[in-house]
Symmetry: C2
Subunit: 698 residues, 2 copies
């Protein structure tokens, strides 16, 4: 077989180890699901105590099965599962789905068990889904495999769905039936001992039957791989994900649920931004998006027309459209004039078009025809509040017929009707997504549009910089050798210079004389600081002097500091003299290393903005040039950098370059734990920037 | 009758003018609804062409009805409606519901018609609902009136609901049946020619059968009245509202829908904050809240316990709880130990409690019993993902029984099941709200808690200040007489002083000599500014000098300014000399007059915070002292005012007083169109504040 996952998703034969004759057992239901959904290959129940299961001849062990077996599904208790897996390996099985729980999620004993399971599979080249999962599904007509114990099989369709929660996965498959939402493949990943979400995303990216990928995630597995794969996959098909564990408490619950670390949601958010994976805020939004992406074309632009028979819901829909970045289309005169003869007398013919309760089937038919043809319209939302329920199906039919052949996005809301009302059913069966509330339709069309923008946006390139890795290494090694976890100010600047950052010139000096000399070498004006291990908060002891312009001023400042420090009983090692940078906007560039996501870069304006307004943009290293520029543009105070009231804008390309260099530096050296370049003076356009102070922790 | 609205909601006899024998006509359906829902009074169809309608004897005009008529419902066309209304008046009818459309919403001709309708009703003391509405409902057993043409009657229950959109109202009544959500009264208000939302709110505040008020609003009618009534009503029962027209486009759609102005949503938001009316962001949230408030007690605190059989949805629920300000309860040892013997082996017994798919009916029963009794728990969310659908009803029953008698909040989510699944139905029929998704349950319990906080919060008092109204009036009159729409700087300060604001001392001076003299009188240091109509942006011409400390400095600055202005060819009238206030935080107090809501007060930190970060709090005059303090506390930069890193906090009580004085000033003088006190230096605690600059537009 071509693909490592083929034995899992396209097996020609399956052994169900633990297939059971007992009602209520997983091995009972799972066998039934495989049979009633007409698995296209051969089934071999394995059960030492049964002669047959569901009428299919059973075997005591997999080794007794006469034919080759591609996929084995394990439902027997954890205590005896590993033995069975050894037998699978001996049999030459290449795919394994372990439903059984009792592995990593139960603590150390389970962890050891899971390690052994993984090692056995690796040693024999077996692809493993699970353990502790709900199974897998492939609805392809050549396969037709429902290897889950879910109560109802999914419909065939273009959605592939991976779920890190088995129960949630099953609930979603179940609810999806109501929405006529069909699936291509499904996998409940369980503990992800081997096959990961990233593996599936990579497989589904290439799968021609998968048009939309849905994910319920509690973590990204290897976030770096996820970013790499997802960046590419989202350019081919929409990927929509719910990521649980958003809050700290949610993260703790995640950890206790799956036994894996959560990492910060700020970093997760950066993953979404950088990859173009669409984050659904709730399970409901996941459905809403899946319906739209699987049934409708993307909108070509932002302009939405609303056709309604009631003002109120049309206004609510308008509010949500605008709040989510869409626009109301200006209907063309042809649409308005074409509608006029067919519109009830008290209709509003501009957008939102309110046909009033007298609209009827004919009114909707005409209106939908016209707005779908209108060159000023990119997408259409049809709202219908059935004044008489018997009319509902007629209106649904009219909408289906009037929209036939159009390549514009069409979403509906039949308000007050449930998901099994005849109009709703007729719409979704004809690939027109319908929502219970107008706000959901509005949010969903904006999600589609957001994806369209992702498709078109420039992902940029990973920059190549000439850097002096050796010089940087030397700085780090010196600190390391001396047992320091924090670089001295001058060292930090040296490290940054090795990576091509523009730093304010800085020199150390033992005493006043030397300070005056290096000040002259740097060039006036300068900043003078006393340094020493006790001098964390320099301003407290008057240990900083700004804008010194002459040698005497430097010497005098040194003397004053020495006197002050002596008086305060604080020791000092000497001085640093630094170029005094005038003007510029204070910005901050930083990095913290997330224990899960790795280097998390931060950018913001200095001072108050970062601290109290949390006006900071985050990105995960490595950054492309486009990523860096998007980070800069995304802070709320960005207008200040662009220049307000005729000010000259800051040098944005230079700031972007600095961010990319920081990304490179922290990618090259894992031992750098934290970087805080604060402040970085962003100078006028063309003038670059200067790093004025740097705190680097190893 | 006691109440003006009694003829509308508690009529003993109803005439339906336009009652019809023709299927599909409003007068046909409406008569049927009155009959089949067993209206407890007498019905008189009025139709000149019919002898009877639905078997009830009809009369040619209302004047022919032999008995007294309390309520007349008009469904005949607008052209002939007014004639019928005259006859109603002659008949002595005291309540009128005009379903007929074709009034203000269609433009000038309709406006005139509506004016005449209103005048006729006023002249004869008739309470009027509509025109252009869907009718009214009262489910009280003594009344049982469904005077709408909605397809299905609502259930009896504790919710009263007013809708400014008839169609939306009907859709909501319909959907509410699925949720077992019952209504006490319902009114579709239409154009609100007479009876307003405020009237109904006032009536329902007192109605013992109404436990929850729901509103769909497109405007507040008279916002001042709304604030007054709602502030009181929300202390007695929860009021939940959807307010459409949030965005500008939505506002325009509202205007074209109802013919009324929208006003800014910022002001609407201030109304919600000040009144404690809970704003639902969508129609769905309105339902979610209505279910919870009508079926469950309020949570006593923030601590929520989650009981689930699956980790994923429990984590999503946790995330939403925390994001909406709630906390996860720490389960007491009794709960955990009490559960242990009954929990499936792989359960997680801390919160969220994950009983795994093996939970079963017994597991849920025990868990719900225990958490409902746990003293560390204020509210419980039970999540159930049915692994086998047949178990659903058993689990629902167990939850209902286990929770019986508890006074704690309990909400459920049966994931993957629809609103007509047996478990869902059993729960809602037993007053346990159930939601399709765990996130909705989480959001809703937080809404309930928010209401609990509203109930407890201090609304404060309207302050009484000694102010010099006469002095203020003189300032305004002078400007008015001289045809100026903008006060001079010194005038503005005078006006403020008359209202007890603390302003920086300010004096005008014709020339350098006089400037030096008044500077001495004010006391050094001072600020000097050149003033004149062309000097809007003073800094551009160097026309501001700060921190002048001596007479010679003042004279020199005057000379320099004169020279600069002459050179620039800008004319000036003279100078102002102002006390130079050192230190303090720059804040801004402002007012704009919303064309709908009236004086909208603003507070924020100065400069950048207001302009780019939109970090501004808004409030509607009049403000109570508590309102003012809440405004100040609600800005994101509030920590700066409290003092960071050991700084002394700003004088918050003084700032609050300034806001209240501003509220009083703009309430007293309608002619003040705009106030911009910018900057106001907020000084250290106990030091007050100083208004440094004031722009006041008439």
């Amino acid at each position: 077989m071509e693909d490592r996952l083929d034995p899992i998703f396209r097996p020609r034969s399956i052994a169900v180890i633990g297939a059971s004759r007992t009602q209520g057992k997983i091995g009972h239901t799972l066998m039934k699901n495989l049979i009633v959904n007409e698995f296209q290959g051969k089934l071999f129940p394995v059960n030492p105590k049964a002669d047959s299961v569901w009428g299919v001849k059973a075997y005591p062990t997999i080794l007794d099965v006469p034919d080759p077996v591609d996929l084995a599904i394990i439902t027997i208790p954890a205590e005896i599962a590993l033995g069975a897996v050894e037998q699978c390996a001996a049999k030459g099985v290449k795919g394994l789905v372990v439903i059984t729980a009792g592995f990593r999620e139960i603590g150390p004993a389970g962890e050891a068990r899971e390690d052994r399971l993984r090692e056995t599979c690796r040693a024999h080249g077996i692809a493993l889904v699970g353990p502790n999962c709900m199974g897998v599904i492939n609805t392809h007509p050549d396969v037709r495999m429902d290897a889950t114990f879910a109560p109802t099989p999914p419909l065939r369709g273009p959605v592939s769905f991976l779920s890190q929660s088995g129960a949630l996965g099953v609930a979603i498959l179940e609810h999806a039936r109501n929405l006529n939402l069909g699936f291509s493949m499904f996998a409940s990943l369980g503990n992800k001992a081997d096959v990961s979400g990233n593996d599936l995303l990579e497989a589904w990216e290439k799968d021609p039957d998968t048009k939309v990928v849905l994910m319920y995630l509690e973590n990204f597995g290897n976030p770096k791989n996820f970013v790499r794969i997802a960046r590419r996959a989202t350019k081919r098909k929409p990927v929509v994900a719910v990521k649980a564990g958003r809050t700290e408490a949610g993260g703790r619950a995640t950890a206790s649920h799956t036994g894996s670390l959560g990492g910060s949601d700020i970093a997760a958010e950066a993953v979404f931004t950088q990859t173009g994976v669409l984050r659904a805020d709730s399970i409901e939004e996941l459905f809403d998006a899946a319906m739209a992406f699987s049934k409708q074309p993307l909108p070509k632009g932002k302009r939405v027309a609303i056709v309604s028979d009631a003002g109120g819901p049309a206004i609510m829909c308008t509010d949500f459209l605008i709040q989510h970045g869409m626009e109301l289309a200006t209907l063309s005169p042809d649409t308005v004039e074409g509608m006029r003869p067919h519109a009830p007398p008290e209709s509003t013919l501009k957008n939102p078009m309110d046909l009033t309760a007298a609209a009827g089937e004919a009114g909707y038919r005409r209106a939908v025809e016209l707005v779908m043809k209108d060159p000023n319209v990119d997408a259409v939302i049809v709202i219908y509040v059935p004044p008489v329920p018997t009319e509902e199906i007629a209106v649904a039919k009219a909408i289906v017929e009037a929209s036939r052949g159009s390549d514009k996005t069409l979403l509906c809301n039949f308000l007050g009707r449930s998901e099994n009302s005849p109009g709703f059913v007729h719409l979704v069966e004809n690939n027109i997504p319908s929502y219970l509330f107008p706000e959901d339709a509005a949010k969903t069309v904006s999600t589609m549009h957001r994806y369209k923008e992702y498709l078109e946006r420039d992902e940029g390139v990973f920059p190549r910089f000439e850097v002096d890795r050796e010089a940087a290494r030397r700085v780090l090694e010196t600190a390391n050798t001396e047992g320091r976890t924090r670089l001295r100010e001058a060292e930090a600047m040296e490290l940054l210079q090795a990576y091509g950052f523009r730093t304010a010139a800085i020199r150390t000096a033992k005493n006043a004389e030397e300070a005056a000399r290096v000040a002259r070498e740097i060039g006036y004006p300068v900043v003078l600081k006393a340094v020493g291990p006790d001098l964390m908060h320099k301003t407290e002891y008057g240990a900083v002097a700004l804008d010194l312009r002459t040698g005497p001023q430097v010497r005098e400042a040194c003397a004053r500091m020495e006197k002050g420090l002596q008086k305060a009983g604080v020791s000092w090692d000497g001085f640093v003299v630094q170029e005094f940078v005038k003007g510029g906007r204070e910005t901050i560039l930083g990095m913290t290393r997330d224990r899960v996501y790795g280097p998390l870069l931060a950018f913001g304006l200095g001072g108050i903005y970062v601290e109290f307004l949390k006006d900071v943009a985050f990105g995960l290293a490595p950054l492309t040039d486009a990523d860096a520029m998007r980070m800069i543009r995304s802070i709320r105070t960005y207008p200040l950098l662009e220049g307000v009231r005729g000010e000259t804008p800051s040098d944005l390309p230079a700031l972007s370059e600095a961010l990319q260099r920081l990304s490179l530096l922290v990618t090259d050296f894992d031992e750098i734990a934290e970087v805080d370049l604060n402040p970085v003076a962003a100078l006028e356009k063309g003038q670059g920037y200067k790093v004025l102070d740097a705190r680097i922790v190893l």
